[in-house]
Amino acid sequence: MLQLLATANAALLATEEGGHAAEALSDGGLLASMAWLIPVVPMVAAFAIVFYGKRMPYKGWDIAIAVMGFEALYGTALLLAHIANPIAHDFQIEIARIGSMPIEWGWAVDGLSIMMYFLVGVVGFFVFLYAKGYMEGDIRYTWFFASFTLFAGGMLVLVSAPNMIQLIVGWELVGVSSWLLIGHYWEDHANSSAAIKAMITNKVADVGLFVGAIIVSMSVGSFRFSDILHAVETGAAEAPTLARYAFWAGLALFIGAMGKSAQFPLHVWLPDAMAGPTPVSSLMHAATMVTAGVFLVGRMFPFYLTEGFATEVRSVIIIVGALTLFLTGLIALVQDDIKKVLAYSTLSQLGYMTAAMGAGAYTAGLFHLFTHAFFKALLFLGAGSAIHAVHSNNMSDMGGLKKDMPYTYWTFVIGSLALAGIVPFAGFFSKDEILASIRYASGEFSVADGGGSLASIVLVLAISGAFITAFYMARTVFLTFHGEYKGDGHPHESPRIMWVPLVGLAVPSAVIGLINIPGATEVFTKLVGGREIPVLDHHAESFDVAMLLAGLAAALLGIFIGWRIWGPDKETQPARDTFRIPLLYPLLENKYYIDDFYMDGVIRPIRGPVARAINWTNGYVLDFIINGAGLLAMSVGKVVYWFDQRGVDGAINASGAVTGAGGGMLRLLQTGKVQQYAILIFAATVIMVGGLVIWF
């Protein structure tokens, strides 16, 4: 506490003197050195819930919410301390060694990880609060909170990683717990398939992560990010090995990021991940899991930005991001499942973040990640609330929920406006910053020949993306909350435990964009810029008015057209419900046939021969070995049987028979007649005496 006050005081002094000058980075004192609690507490708590959850008064939810409350508080405390006085410090504890390279567990406390601690803690807290209401009466209630806590904990292990190894550990923890959560209702085959699909798609990308991590770590000779980024900072001439393989390493790492952050064409798992309970979708799409890829690129950002290293990869990143944001946004237009609309919307927004990263805008990308986490969590929770009331995921079963569910409606509208990028909601500022950065890049992009025109195309796609976003969100709001109710029964507002988190998330969704107004409040820029190795990104000092107007106009146009098509009165409702966008509809309905391509083009051609090969191996090789072993065992058995019957039993029976026969013969001597005994004694005496006489 004293430490906190001291830091705050120092910060006050610093602001009075300094202003925007680069402040000295502090090691954060006790608050940072105890930050190992952030990843450890939820991991321990997950096991505590497994073993003791059922005995707790709220069946394990109480442990989970206490942990998330702790995370939110600790994250906020670190955030405030960091804003007051930037903290950048790594803590490393050696736990093993590979050759000369130590494997360390540690915790990074710098701008990037503090931002993620705060995000996971605060968004997670609201989602866990909401989950109590949503999961009420679930058959695996306690287990759900155990795996959910593990999920949050895995993400915290990932973001606290100061080295590649821990990052991979956290990466896989998130992967496995997402598998548990997506397949939470595994009784339905579709849900367990979705879980497996998420796992396998991520595994494909993980190969890239591993390859990239190995190349980078081996060329630098250390798993630590600080060592890797120091090597980058010293320049290509000082780190020739890393520079030589930088393109491939950067590309491989980005492929890893494409899996977790669901970039085109590895995005297919994310919409299917809707099979999990809504709180899972909410957290997965907001603060954890999908942010991991963007986080990884952010962590390695100097590597992608410094001349002589992986700068060429940035054109790949920006293309992938632009494709993702545009193509998946279009799919969201034709979805009927409200959660799928939001899922494709997440993909689209992740595309924005990735495109921003590719354009070299570290702050803009992470700022969109930050604001998006709040409003996307809010939208998912709102959608969950509607689903809870209607008992259907389909918007064709909803409609007219506005009057029955006021809290859900208004918070959902705030979230939608934030997502659509309407001033002054959070998404407006972050999206505008991305557009401005991409436009800046279109002037400055010196990555490859024609880089400038590439960024111009991306800019067009990004502005169209803003239009599409507003369009499908208008559609969702009108179809869900306006018009006539089309479902069964009568919907009711969700219980208080569910709408309080909605309000709690609606507030930051509305106002959090104000923390990074270009040229005015630069809190977020300083926040994520507070790192040991300075991140030299482009950051606009003032609004790019053209982009601001273009983005806003696209969003307003999207909302207007959405209202024209789906908004009007009830007479036209049947026509609206059956409205299909011409030409594009079949393509979008089938999601560009990507899933079909993977299934028919990749999985089946591989699966068939593999299955046949395995069958052949099984039938001929394994069975041969097993049958051979069986036959051998049988013949050995026969020998042993013979030996047992004839040898061992024979010996035992023979000894019995001999004893019996001997007894029978000796029995004859036992006549009971004294004189016979006397004869024997006498005869024996005579023989013995005779023997003695002869002997001597």
């Binding site: 006549t671 009971g672 007649k673 004294v674 004189q675 005994y677 006397a678 004869i679 006498f682």
Partner: protein
């Protein structure tokens, strides 16, 4: 050679006793034959004592012991035979096969 004659007499008498013990059916006669064997042993004692000119006449004294013990033995033996006879109305050793299992 006077010793040889005595030894032969002792041996003959002993053999007669052994034969009697092994062949007689009547318990009294068996006892009588045991007495013959004792007498044969006494003859040997006395003969060897004389032959060795023993100063303390150990052989003769021992033969007197044997006579005394033999008398006691006959007393006990006859008493046992009497009791057996009373119980079974027979002194035939062949019928005394209670030792048979």
């Amino acid at each position: 050679m006077i010793l040889g004659q005595f030894i032969i007499l002792g041996a003959a008498l002993f053999s007669l006793g052994v034969y009697g013990v092994l062949t007689r059916r009547n318990a009294v006669l068996v006892l009588l034959s045991v007495e013959l064997m004792l007498a044969a042993v006494n003859i040997n004692f006395v003969a060897f004592d004389t032959y060795a000119r023993d100063a303390v006449a150990g052989g003769q004294i021992f033969s007197l012991f044997v006579i005394a013990v033999g008398a006691a033995e006959v007393g006990i033996g006859l008493a046992i035979i009497l009791l057996i006879f009373r119980n079974r109305q027979s002194a035939n050793v062949d019928e005394l096969d209670l030792m048979k299992l």
